[in-house]
Symmetry: C2
Subunit: 200 residues, 2 copies
DNA sequence: GTCTATATGCCGATAGAC
DNA sequence: GTCTATCGGCATATAGAC
Protein backbone atom coordinates (compact mmCIF):
# COMPACT_ATOMS: atom_id res chain seq x y z
CA UNK A 1 0.00 0.00 0.00
CA UNK A 2 2.74 2.57 0.77
CA UNK A 3 4.05 4.30 -2.33
CA UNK A 4 7.65 4.43 -1.17
CA UNK A 5 8.92 0.86 -1.06
CA UNK A 6 11.74 1.82 1.29
CA UNK A 7 9.44 3.42 3.84
CA UNK A 8 8.82 0.11 5.59
CA UNK A 9 12.51 -0.58 5.56
CA UNK A 10 13.18 2.72 7.26
CA UNK A 11 10.50 2.04 9.84
CA UNK A 12 12.12 -1.30 10.62
CA UNK A 13 15.54 0.28 11.05
CA UNK A 14 14.05 2.97 13.27
CA UNK A 15 12.37 0.35 15.45
CA UNK A 16 15.56 -1.71 15.59
CA UNK A 17 17.54 1.40 16.50
CA UNK A 18 15.35 2.23 19.48
CA UNK A 19 15.30 -1.32 20.81
CA UNK A 20 18.91 -2.31 20.09
CA UNK A 21 20.37 0.86 21.56
CA UNK A 22 18.22 0.69 24.66
CA UNK A 23 18.39 -3.01 25.49
CA UNK A 24 21.34 -4.40 23.54
CA UNK A 25 21.41 -6.33 20.30
CA UNK A 26 21.23 -9.89 21.60
CA UNK A 27 18.55 -8.94 24.11
CA UNK A 28 16.08 -7.94 21.38
CA UNK A 29 14.28 -10.44 19.17
CA UNK A 30 13.03 -9.87 15.66
CA UNK A 31 9.46 -10.29 16.94
CA UNK A 32 9.77 -7.16 19.05
CA UNK A 33 11.27 -5.18 16.19
CA UNK A 34 8.53 -6.16 13.74
CA UNK A 35 5.87 -5.38 16.35
CA UNK A 36 7.43 -1.99 17.07
CA UNK A 37 7.61 -1.18 13.37
CA UNK A 38 3.97 -2.09 12.89
CA UNK A 39 4.59 -4.93 10.44
CA UNK A 40 4.80 -8.70 10.68
CA UNK A 41 7.93 -10.73 11.04
CA UNK A 42 7.51 -11.96 7.49
CA UNK A 43 7.77 -8.43 6.18
CA UNK A 44 10.94 -7.90 8.19
CA UNK A 45 12.44 -10.92 6.48
CA UNK A 46 11.37 -9.56 3.13
CA UNK A 47 13.50 -6.45 3.67
CA UNK A 48 16.39 -8.08 5.52
CA UNK A 49 17.70 -11.54 4.78
CA UNK A 50 18.84 -12.17 8.37
CA UNK A 51 18.91 -10.47 11.74
CA UNK A 52 22.61 -9.81 11.19
CA UNK A 53 21.74 -7.78 8.11
CA UNK A 54 19.34 -5.69 10.17
CA UNK A 55 21.95 -5.23 12.87
CA UNK A 56 24.42 -3.98 10.28
CA UNK A 57 21.83 -1.55 8.89
CA UNK A 58 21.16 -0.30 12.43
CA UNK A 59 24.81 0.41 13.18
CA UNK A 60 25.52 1.80 9.74
CA UNK A 61 22.61 4.19 10.15
CA UNK A 62 24.25 5.59 13.26
CA UNK A 63 27.69 6.16 11.77
CA UNK A 64 27.29 9.49 10.00
CA UNK A 65 24.66 11.05 12.31
CA UNK A 66 26.78 10.33 15.39
CA UNK A 67 29.90 11.89 13.93
CA UNK A 68 27.79 14.65 12.39
CA UNK A 69 26.46 15.75 15.77
CA UNK A 70 30.01 16.37 16.92
CA UNK A 71 31.03 18.03 13.67
CA UNK A 72 28.10 20.40 13.98
CA UNK A 73 29.51 21.68 17.27
CA UNK A 74 32.53 23.28 15.65
CA UNK A 75 31.63 24.97 12.39
CA UNK A 76 34.27 27.70 12.63
CA UNK A 77 37.73 26.85 11.38
CA UNK A 78 39.77 29.54 13.07
CA UNK A 79 39.37 28.54 16.70
CA UNK A 80 42.18 26.92 18.69
CA UNK A 81 42.03 23.13 18.54
CA UNK A 82 42.02 22.98 22.32
CA UNK A 83 38.72 24.84 22.42
CA UNK A 84 37.17 22.59 19.80
CA UNK A 85 38.17 19.49 21.74
CA UNK A 86 36.68 20.94 24.89
CA UNK A 87 33.39 21.32 23.05
CA UNK A 88 33.50 17.62 22.19
CA UNK A 89 33.79 16.64 25.83
CA UNK A 90 31.18 19.17 26.88
CA UNK A 91 28.77 17.62 24.44
CA UNK A 92 29.43 14.20 25.94
CA UNK A 93 28.92 15.61 29.41
CA UNK A 94 25.50 16.94 28.44
CA UNK A 95 24.24 14.07 26.32
CA UNK A 96 25.17 11.41 28.86
CA UNK A 97 22.75 12.98 31.31
CA UNK A 98 19.84 12.12 29.07
CA UNK A 99 17.76 9.39 30.70
CA UNK A 100 17.90 7.42 27.45
CA UNK A 101 21.69 7.54 27.16
CA UNK A 102 23.26 4.08 27.05
CA UNK A 103 26.85 4.78 26.05
CA UNK A 104 28.36 4.23 22.62
CA UNK A 105 26.37 1.93 20.34
CA UNK A 106 29.52 0.97 18.42
CA UNK A 107 31.53 0.07 21.49
CA UNK A 108 28.63 -1.87 22.98
CA UNK A 109 28.11 -3.76 19.72
CA UNK A 110 31.82 -4.60 19.52
CA UNK A 111 31.63 -5.81 23.12
CA UNK A 112 28.64 -8.05 22.40
CA UNK A 113 30.39 -9.61 19.40
CA UNK A 114 33.86 -9.68 20.94
CA UNK A 115 34.42 -13.28 19.81
CA UNK A 116 33.41 -12.69 16.18
CA UNK A 117 36.16 -10.57 14.58
CA UNK A 118 34.68 -10.87 11.09
CA UNK A 119 31.12 -9.96 12.01
CA UNK A 120 29.73 -7.04 9.94
CA UNK A 121 29.08 -5.20 13.17
CA UNK A 122 32.76 -5.23 14.04
CA UNK A 123 33.78 -3.75 10.72
CA UNK A 124 31.25 -0.93 10.97
CA UNK A 125 32.26 -0.16 14.55
CA UNK A 126 35.97 -0.06 13.68
CA UNK A 127 35.32 2.14 10.67
CA UNK A 128 33.28 4.59 12.73
CA UNK A 129 35.97 4.93 15.38
CA UNK A 130 38.63 5.44 12.73
CA UNK A 131 36.54 8.20 11.17
CA UNK A 132 36.15 9.88 14.53
CA UNK A 133 39.88 9.67 15.19
CA UNK A 134 40.71 11.06 11.75
CA UNK A 135 38.33 13.94 12.32
CA UNK A 136 40.08 14.76 15.60
CA UNK A 137 43.42 14.55 13.85
CA UNK A 138 42.29 17.07 11.24
CA UNK A 139 41.20 19.48 13.93
CA UNK A 140 44.62 19.28 15.54
CA UNK A 141 46.54 19.59 12.28
CA UNK A 142 44.48 22.60 11.23
CA UNK A 143 45.87 24.32 14.29
CA UNK A 144 49.43 23.41 13.37
CA UNK A 145 49.92 21.08 16.29
CA UNK A 146 52.91 18.76 16.04
CA UNK A 147 52.28 15.04 16.41
CA UNK A 148 48.61 15.36 15.57
CA UNK A 149 48.14 11.64 14.82
CA UNK A 150 49.47 10.54 18.21
CA UNK A 151 47.53 13.21 20.04
CA UNK A 152 44.31 12.37 18.18
CA UNK A 153 44.69 8.77 19.31
CA UNK A 154 45.12 9.84 22.90
CA UNK A 155 42.07 12.07 22.79
CA UNK A 156 40.12 9.22 21.23
CA UNK A 157 41.23 6.99 24.10
CA UNK A 158 40.18 9.63 26.64
CA UNK A 159 36.82 10.02 24.94
CA UNK A 160 35.88 6.35 24.85
CA UNK A 161 37.38 5.83 28.28
CA UNK A 162 35.13 8.54 29.66
CA UNK A 163 32.12 6.99 27.92
CA UNK A 164 32.98 3.64 29.50
CA UNK A 165 33.37 5.07 33.00
CA UNK A 166 30.16 7.05 32.74
CA UNK A 167 28.31 3.96 31.55
CA UNK A 168 29.60 2.03 34.55
CA UNK A 169 29.28 4.67 37.27
CA UNK A 170 26.55 6.89 35.86
CA UNK A 171 28.77 9.83 36.79
CA UNK A 172 29.16 12.61 34.18
CA UNK A 173 32.14 13.88 36.17
CA UNK A 174 34.34 11.53 34.18
CA UNK A 175 33.68 13.66 31.10
CA UNK A 176 35.19 16.67 32.87
CA UNK A 177 38.19 14.67 34.04
CA UNK A 178 38.79 13.47 30.50
CA UNK A 179 38.40 17.01 29.17
CA UNK A 180 41.01 18.29 31.63
CA UNK A 181 43.38 15.51 30.63
CA UNK A 182 42.91 16.31 26.95
CA UNK A 183 43.57 20.00 27.60
CA UNK A 184 46.75 19.14 29.44
CA UNK A 185 47.99 16.87 26.65
CA UNK A 186 47.23 19.47 23.99
CA UNK A 187 48.99 22.25 25.87
CA UNK A 188 52.05 20.02 26.26
CA UNK A 189 52.13 19.50 22.52
CA UNK A 190 51.55 23.15 21.75
CA UNK A 191 54.99 23.92 23.10
CA UNK A 192 56.31 21.90 20.19
CA UNK A 193 54.25 23.56 17.45
CA UNK A 194 55.50 23.01 13.94
CA UNK A 195 55.10 26.57 12.75
CA UNK A 196 53.56 29.40 14.70
CA UNK A 197 54.61 32.64 16.16
CA UNK A 198 53.45 31.82 19.69
CA UNK A 199 55.65 28.81 20.32
CA UNK A 200 56.36 30.28 23.73
CA UNK B 1 29.55 -38.46 45.33
CA UNK B 2 32.14 -35.64 45.63
CA UNK B 3 33.12 -34.99 49.21
CA UNK B 4 33.40 -31.26 48.82
CA UNK B 5 29.90 -29.96 48.25
CA UNK B 6 31.22 -26.73 46.75
CA UNK B 7 33.33 -28.47 44.14
CA UNK B 8 30.46 -28.69 41.69
CA UNK B 9 29.66 -25.08 42.34
CA UNK B 10 33.21 -24.12 41.49
CA UNK B 11 33.14 -26.22 38.34
CA UNK B 12 29.98 -24.44 37.27
CA UNK B 13 31.50 -21.02 37.85
CA UNK B 14 34.63 -22.05 35.95
CA UNK B 15 32.54 -23.24 33.00
CA UNK B 16 30.46 -20.05 33.10
CA UNK B 17 33.63 -17.98 33.26
CA UNK B 18 35.11 -19.51 30.13
CA UNK B 19 31.89 -19.26 28.14
CA UNK B 20 30.68 -15.85 29.35
CA UNK B 21 34.04 -14.18 28.87
CA UNK B 22 34.55 -15.65 25.43
CA UNK B 23 31.09 -15.26 23.93
CA UNK B 24 29.26 -12.77 26.10
CA UNK B 25 26.70 -13.32 28.84
CA UNK B 26 23.48 -13.19 26.83
CA UNK B 27 25.02 -15.30 24.08
CA UNK B 28 25.51 -18.27 26.41
CA UNK B 29 22.66 -20.45 27.66
CA UNK B 30 22.55 -22.39 30.89
CA UNK B 31 22.50 -25.63 28.89
CA UNK B 32 25.96 -24.93 27.52
CA UNK B 33 27.30 -24.08 30.97
CA UNK B 34 25.94 -27.25 32.56
CA UNK B 35 27.28 -29.34 29.69
CA UNK B 36 30.70 -27.71 29.98
CA UNK B 37 30.76 -28.29 33.73
CA UNK B 38 29.87 -31.95 33.27
CA UNK B 39 26.59 -31.78 35.18
CA UNK B 40 22.95 -31.48 34.22
CA UNK B 41 20.93 -28.31 34.14
CA UNK B 42 19.03 -29.45 37.19
CA UNK B 43 22.23 -29.52 39.20
CA UNK B 44 23.06 -26.02 38.02
CA UNK B 45 19.72 -24.87 39.38
CA UNK B 46 20.41 -26.61 42.64
CA UNK B 47 23.50 -24.44 43.17
CA UNK B 48 22.18 -21.21 41.65
CA UNK B 49 18.60 -20.04 41.92
CA UNK B 50 18.68 -18.19 38.58
CA UNK B 51 21.01 -17.44 35.70
CA UNK B 52 21.44 -13.94 37.11
CA UNK B 53 22.84 -15.44 40.30
CA UNK B 54 25.37 -17.42 38.27
CA UNK B 55 26.28 -14.31 36.29
CA UNK B 56 26.92 -12.44 39.53
CA UNK B 57 29.10 -15.28 40.82
CA UNK B 58 31.05 -15.24 37.56
CA UNK B 59 31.80 -11.52 37.71
CA UNK B 60 32.44 -11.54 41.44
CA UNK B 61 34.94 -14.32 40.93
CA UNK B 62 36.89 -12.11 38.56
CA UNK B 63 37.05 -9.05 40.80
CA UNK B 64 39.96 -9.84 43.10
CA UNK B 65 42.04 -11.96 40.65
CA UNK B 66 41.89 -9.26 38.00
CA UNK B 67 43.04 -6.51 40.33
CA UNK B 68 45.49 -8.92 41.93
CA UNK B 69 47.28 -9.55 38.66
CA UNK B 70 48.02 -5.84 38.40
CA UNK B 71 48.96 -5.52 42.05
CA UNK B 72 51.43 -8.36 41.64
CA UNK B 73 53.29 -6.31 39.05
CA UNK B 74 54.44 -3.72 41.52
CA UNK B 75 55.48 -5.27 44.81
CA UNK B 76 58.09 -2.64 45.68
CA UNK B 77 56.90 0.52 47.38
CA UNK B 78 59.84 2.80 46.70
CA UNK B 79 59.60 3.16 42.94
CA UNK B 80 58.30 6.33 41.28
CA UNK B 81 54.56 6.19 40.61
CA UNK B 82 55.18 6.96 36.95
CA UNK B 83 57.13 3.72 36.57
CA UNK B 84 54.45 1.69 38.31
CA UNK B 85 51.78 3.12 36.04
CA UNK B 86 53.87 2.27 33.00
CA UNK B 87 53.97 -1.32 34.18
CA UNK B 88 50.19 -1.37 34.29
CA UNK B 89 49.93 -0.32 30.66
CA UNK B 90 52.71 -2.69 29.64
CA UNK B 91 50.79 -5.54 31.19
CA UNK B 92 47.71 -4.56 29.19
CA UNK B 93 49.81 -4.37 26.05
CA UNK B 94 51.01 -7.91 26.57
CA UNK B 95 47.81 -9.56 27.76
CA UNK B 96 45.70 -8.11 24.98
CA UNK B 97 47.79 -10.00 22.46
CA UNK B 98 46.59 -13.30 23.84
CA UNK B 99 44.31 -14.97 21.32
CA UNK B 100 41.72 -15.47 24.05
CA UNK B 101 41.66 -11.83 25.12
CA UNK B 102 38.21 -10.27 24.85
CA UNK B 103 38.60 -6.97 26.67
CA UNK B 104 37.30 -6.18 30.15
CA UNK B 105 34.65 -8.55 31.46
CA UNK B 106 33.24 -5.85 33.74
CA UNK B 107 32.92 -3.25 31.01
CA UNK B 108 31.41 -5.77 28.62
CA UNK B 109 28.92 -6.91 31.26
CA UNK B 110 27.94 -3.33 32.02
CA UNK B 111 27.48 -2.75 28.29
CA UNK B 112 25.24 -5.79 27.94
CA UNK B 113 23.05 -4.67 30.83
CA UNK B 114 23.18 -0.97 30.05
CA UNK B 115 19.43 -0.62 30.50
CA UNK B 116 19.32 -2.35 33.89
CA UNK B 117 20.97 -0.01 36.42
CA UNK B 118 20.02 -2.16 39.40
CA UNK B 119 21.22 -5.47 37.99
CA UNK B 120 23.70 -7.29 40.28
CA UNK B 121 26.17 -7.29 37.43
CA UNK B 122 26.21 -3.51 37.33
CA UNK B 123 26.95 -3.18 41.01
CA UNK B 124 29.83 -5.65 40.85
CA UNK B 125 31.29 -3.94 37.77
CA UNK B 126 31.09 -0.49 39.37
CA UNK B 127 32.64 -1.76 42.57
CA UNK B 128 35.53 -3.37 40.69
CA UNK B 129 36.31 -0.20 38.75
CA UNK B 130 36.21 1.86 41.93
CA UNK B 131 38.65 -0.54 43.57
CA UNK B 132 40.98 -0.24 40.62
CA UNK B 133 40.79 3.54 40.67
CA UNK B 134 41.44 3.65 44.42
CA UNK B 135 44.45 1.40 43.98
CA UNK B 136 45.86 3.77 41.35
CA UNK B 137 45.19 6.69 43.66
CA UNK B 138 47.16 5.04 46.45
CA UNK B 139 50.10 4.50 44.12
CA UNK B 140 50.11 8.17 43.24
CA UNK B 141 49.71 9.39 46.81
CA UNK B 142 52.50 7.12 48.01
CA UNK B 143 54.76 9.09 45.70
CA UNK B 144 53.57 12.39 47.11
CA UNK B 145 51.85 13.50 43.94
CA UNK B 146 49.44 16.39 44.30
CA UNK B 147 45.89 15.89 43.08
CA UNK B 148 46.15 12.12 43.19
CA UNK B 149 42.36 11.53 43.08
CA UNK B 150 41.94 13.54 39.86
CA UNK B 151 44.99 11.98 38.27
CA UNK B 152 43.89 8.46 39.24
CA UNK B 153 40.57 9.09 37.51
CA UNK B 154 42.33 10.24 34.37
CA UNK B 155 44.59 7.21 34.31
CA UNK B 156 41.56 5.02 34.85
CA UNK B 157 39.91 6.71 31.85
CA UNK B 158 43.03 6.15 29.76
CA UNK B 159 43.18 2.52 30.78
CA UNK B 160 39.60 1.62 29.94
CA UNK B 161 39.75 3.79 26.85
CA UNK B 162 42.75 1.83 25.63
CA UNK B 163 40.96 -1.44 26.38
CA UNK B 164 37.96 -0.25 24.36
CA UNK B 165 40.06 0.83 21.38
CA UNK B 166 42.06 -2.39 21.38
CA UNK B 167 38.84 -4.41 21.52
CA UNK B 168 37.52 -2.52 18.51
CA UNK B 169 40.65 -2.31 16.38
CA UNK B 170 42.64 -5.30 17.63
CA UNK B 171 45.63 -2.96 17.77
CA UNK B 172 47.82 -3.14 20.92
CA UNK B 173 49.36 0.17 19.87
CA UNK B 174 46.59 1.96 21.75
CA UNK B 175 48.09 0.67 25.00
CA UNK B 176 51.34 2.47 24.19
CA UNK B 177 49.52 5.66 23.27
CA UNK B 178 47.61 5.55 26.55
CA UNK B 179 50.83 4.87 28.46
CA UNK B 180 52.48 7.90 26.88
CA UNK B 181 49.49 10.05 27.75
CA UNK B 182 49.55 8.83 31.35
CA UNK B 183 53.26 9.58 31.61
CA UNK B 184 52.69 13.08 30.31
CA UNK B 185 49.88 13.75 32.77
CA UNK B 186 51.91 12.44 35.69
CA UNK B 187 54.94 14.51 34.81
CA UNK B 188 52.77 17.61 34.61
CA UNK B 189 51.50 16.94 38.10
CA UNK B 190 54.94 16.18 39.47
CA UNK B 191 55.86 19.81 38.98
CA UNK B 192 53.26 20.55 41.64
CA UNK B 193 54.39 18.00 44.20
CA UNK B 194 53.06 18.54 47.71
CA UNK B 195 56.34 17.95 49.48
CA UNK B 196 59.54 16.97 47.82
CA UNK B 197 62.91 18.38 47.24
CA UNK B 198 62.74 18.12 43.47
CA UNK B 199 59.77 20.39 42.89
CA UNK B 200 61.70 21.93 40.01
C1' DG C 1 5.12 -6.29 -0.40
C1' DT C 2 2.51 -7.79 3.18
C1' DC C 3 -0.17 -11.16 5.28
C1' DT C 4 -1.40 -15.83 8.41
C1' DA C 5 0.49 -19.82 9.88
C1' DT C 6 4.18 -22.69 10.93
C1' DA C 7 8.93 -25.17 11.29
C1' DT C 8 12.51 -26.23 14.42
C1' DG C 9 15.14 -25.61 18.15
C1' DC C 10 16.95 -23.32 22.27
C1' DC C 11 15.62 -20.32 26.28
C1' DG C 12 15.32 -20.23 31.56
C1' DA C 13 13.28 -22.86 34.96
C1' DT C 14 10.82 -26.91 37.34
C1' DA C 15 8.70 -31.83 38.88
C1' DG C 16 9.73 -35.65 41.15
C1' DA C 17 12.67 -39.96 41.55
C1' DC C 18 16.72 -41.71 43.88
C1' DG D 1 23.06 -33.47 45.40
C1' DT D 2 22.44 -35.25 41.15
C1' DC D 3 19.64 -37.42 37.93
C1' DT D 4 15.78 -37.99 33.72
C1' DA D 5 12.13 -35.79 31.74
C1' DT D 6 9.59 -31.91 30.68
C1' DC D 7 7.21 -27.32 30.97
C1' DG D 8 5.68 -23.00 28.33
C1' DG D 9 7.71 -19.50 25.81
C1' DC D 10 10.48 -17.20 22.60
C1' DA D 11 14.52 -17.56 19.20
C1' DT D 12 15.51 -17.10 13.96
C1' DA D 13 13.71 -18.21 9.83
C1' DT D 14 10.32 -20.01 6.16
C1' DA D 15 5.86 -21.74 3.26
C1' DG D 16 2.49 -20.23 0.55
C1' DA D 17 -1.75 -17.20 -0.11
C1' DC D 18 -3.15 -12.69 -1.81
Amino acid sequence: MPRDPSKTRRKLIAAADALFYNQGIRAVGVDAIALNAGVTKRTLYYHFRTKDELIAAYLDGRDQPTLGRYQALIPEAKEPAALKVQRVFEHLSKSCQDRQWRGCSFLRAAAEFANLPGHPTRLIAARHKKRFESWLENILRADGIAGAPDLARQIMILFDGAVAQILIHRDPGYASSAAAAAASLISSKRQKRKSGRSAR
